[in-house]
Symmetry: C2
Subunit: 503 residues, 2 copies
């Protein structure tokens, strides 16, 4: 028997003692019938109070692990059936052998390595896709505590698809955006990511084809891949996906789903034109293919009116609209919504119940208050102005510092600039070099299905970095690009070079 | 062109007009080149202001759907490529043809039909598995608003596995329960349901075998089935699962996972004995099978000390411990946690990121405050006393009113009584009859893998119904059972009757 007391541990001493004895009995290290020292003996040996040992023994007796008999003292009791644990089985569990294809289908791209850099002190981060830290919409909370403390109502549990009152609010919210839907056509989700996951799960069997814009939102690529989908790329053009290629793919293959981000696309900032929308919807209706419209950014418009959702023109009913409060209120709420045919919403609720039952009650109430009180509208006005200015600070800085060959767009809304690097430069190398100089960016590669295809792009977020550090970050980034470009070919990629046999 | 104005609708009139014209252009009802009435003509025809029509036309122009030319007035513009929408395609989407096996693997049991009854006014509900409505732990909120409004910190975003501070708090919480784990071995989940879903997703491929106690927590059965698992039943005995049968199944098949609820089992109230725990762990270690320990109730002990988790005796590292705040704080928080090997936690984070990124920031902060302040401990003392009393009210009422042949257990903890009906009576029929009399209960069938096997059981929850209505509900329920039993064989099941050929 071996017992080690750790007085710096907050666990009560008697628990420490009992726990260690229990472990040793269970493992067979203390054999059945083992004669324990008396309470006083053990207390003296360990330098603890006698009551401490008494309590430890009491607990072990209650668990049926030891027994005291007058005359024979305290002995270990063991289940007859239990064989001693064989030490060779105490190796680390072989998790990788046990994992499902879901786990294995995950690609190896680890976004965290980029975001970890971004989270370091003093790093200027253009990598994340999150809102400004400096403008928390704290008005959303004002009064909520009083309300909740007063009644406690609405804390306990919510329907799977969300509180009826919030679904009503969201349906009239969608109506203001020209989507004439009913509350029964709304499901509240725990963010847009859950919406993508839910739709992937509802429609995609391993091997099913999903059509996706290239480049696209990379967590969507990962979600579909994790479900075993075979992804096929529809190239992006200046005014949205190439609908001619879309039609070819629809004719040649039998895709299960089309995934699109028609407004202020992440990462490339493009908005789909009306003619392309008409064509996409006509094709989806003709072939009977659901269209997942991911629309997190359409209300963050900096020029012209907000982009109207594709869903507003949906005659066939195949458009599944998805949006989130993560970009307009804040991501920590974990709240988004789906707007779709009510028959689909009802079937999706069946799966949703198995995923997380429903979205958090407090988040739902905060979002509802925030909309109904008019605070969201005010807050949108505030961040639209702020983000427009940050975008302009970034494009101005690029105009000032950009080396030859670096090009970028000027998105009319959303969160990101999409930059093309001077020819031959690799974004993966640039990411590392920029991080060393304290600037975090996202490489283009994960947004592409085709390996290396995104190497000449980087995505820059302008909403998160403090406005007074944007120009500085761009200056440093441009210096790094310049250095790498002039050091060519050492640090560059030659995608067009000959392929040599591997010997 | 057809336009209908709805003045009771909150949508601005110009939006209503623009929306309807847009829809008609898109669908082809308004053909390309269609000559629109002048603003004044349309305003007169609709009985609206001229500015209203002006604004509608402005919007349509911005969308590229109409154009005005001096001399030719306002005309509809249409994309050349778009073919008119063919009306036969406007049928309802064929969702059922499109759904994945995930969706199809869902069994047809619809818990909602039982819970809907339970939600009706004046119904005494023994059906739900939720906490008392009358004892909201509102102290959890006191002060949180001030904190959040003050800083706004911790609102924005959380790490995938949860805030570090909460993971630290949960690891010391687990240590107090004899599980000596590190914060890196904790993942915060959006409730225990998400934990089950996450584990199922990480380990189960279609066709994989999962061993599960019979009866068991029915949403777990549904989760594993939705992933395509082949479930095999390990029968429950008075002191936990039959470990001899477990061993046979482990030897004969190659299961991927063992699912167990070792403390105050839902639905049958049983706690697994120490010898069975030792044997289960030894077998899991020897065969290298992960054990999902679902432990929502162990701290709701009404007699004796709280049951120590299986995880505390886990030498092999294969135990994946799962618990939730839904039963101790409240379900609307959507907060639970997994405690497992840190290598597994890290791999699970990869999937979790695709599911919902992370659990809600406010819920995490509320739970952390509730534990650290000592409020959870106080609240547990309060609800333990309250629920023990409610359990006793229920068992006393059963002793008073029960007809011959009705038997029940007296669980030492948890939420449920598990009752066996008089022989030949069907719980599915009883559920309907009891609902008609204003009492909601849960039938035994969904908790069993084998069809009809649960027909002779019902589950009664005593935590949710108000204490002064429990005895009344039991009285009514017993009357209904008595009536059905005396009306036999009309309303009863004859599971042992001969099977006749279907002609």
């Amino acid at each position: 028997m071996k017992i080690q007391i750790d007085r710096s541990d907050k666990t009560p001493l008697y628990k420490q003692i009992a726990g260690q004895i229990q472990a040793q009995i269970t493992s067979g290290e203390i054999p059945e019938g083992f004669q324990f020292p008396s309470e006083r003996q053990l207390a003296d040996a360990l330098g603890v109070n006698r009551t401490t040992v008494l309590n430890a023994y009491k607990e072990l007796k209650a668990d049926g692990l030891i027994a005291s008999h007058v005359g024979s003292g305290t002995v270990a009791v063991r289940n007859q059936n239990a064989e001693p644990v064989i030490l060779s089985h105490r190796k680390d569990p072989m998790w990788e052998h046990l994992f499902s294809d879901h786990m294995k289908n995950q690609d190896s791209f680890d976004i965290n390595k980029y975001l970890e850099v971004a989270n370091q002190r003093d790093v200027i981060s253009f990598a994340a896709g999150i809102a400004s830290f400096e403008l928390p919409p704290v008005q959303a909370f004002a009064g909520i505590e009083k309300e909740l403390l007063g009644s406690g109502n609405g804390l306990l549990v919510s329907p799977v698809a969300g509180f009826s009152s919030l679904r009503r609010v969201m349906s009239s919210y969608m109506q203001k955006r020209s989507c004439f839907c009913q509350p029964s056509e709304i499901m509240i989700t725990s963010g847009a990511q859950q919406g993508i996951d839910l739709i992937a799960r509802a429609f995609v069997n391993p091997g099913d084809i999903v059509l996706i814009e290239e480049p696209s939102f990379f967590p969507a690529i990962r979600s579909f891949r994790s479900m075993g989908a075979k992804l096929m790329a529809v190239p992006m053009e200046e005014d949205g996906m190439d609908v001619d290629i879309l039609e070819q793919l629809l004719t040649r293959y039998r895709p299960k789903l089309i995934y699109t981000m028609p407004a202020y696309h992440n990462p490339c900032g493009v908005t789909m034109s009306i003619p392309k929308r008409v064509r996409l919807l006509e094709l989806a209706g003709r072939y009977g293919i659901p269209v997942l419209e991911d629309d997190p950014y359409s209300e963050l418009n900096y020029e012209g009116p907000p982009v109207t959702p594709l869903k507003s023109m949906d005659k066939s009913g195949y458009v599944v609209y998805l949006s989130t409060f993560s970009k307009t209120i804040y991501p920590g709420l974990r709240l988004g919504w789906i707007c779709a045919d009510k028959k689909l919403i009802s079937r999706l609720s069946g799966i949703r119940q198995l995923m997380d039952l429903h979205s958090g009650c407090i988040s739902q109430q905060i979002a509802e208050r925030f909309i109904v009180s008019g605070e969201l509208k005010k807050y949108l006005t505030l961040i639209r102005r702020e983000y427009r200015e940050r975008r302009d600070i970034m494009t101005d800085a690029l105009s000032r510092y950009a080396p030859a060959g670096l090009t970028w767009n000027r998105p009319e809304g959303g969160y990101y600039l999409w930059c093309r690097l001077p020819e031959g430069l690799s974004s993966d190398i640039l990411v590392t070099r920029a991080a060393e100089r304290g600037v975090a960016i996202l490489p283009g590669t994960p947004s592409y299905l085709t390996p290396y295809k995104g190497e000449c792009y980087i995505r820059l977020n302008y909403t998160f970095p403090p406005r007074d550090r944007i120009a500085e970050g761009i200056r440093i980034l441009c210096e790094v690009i310049e250095e790498l470009a002039s050091a060519r070919p050492e640090y560059t990629l030659c995608p067009d070079s000959e392929i040599n046999p591997i010997l």
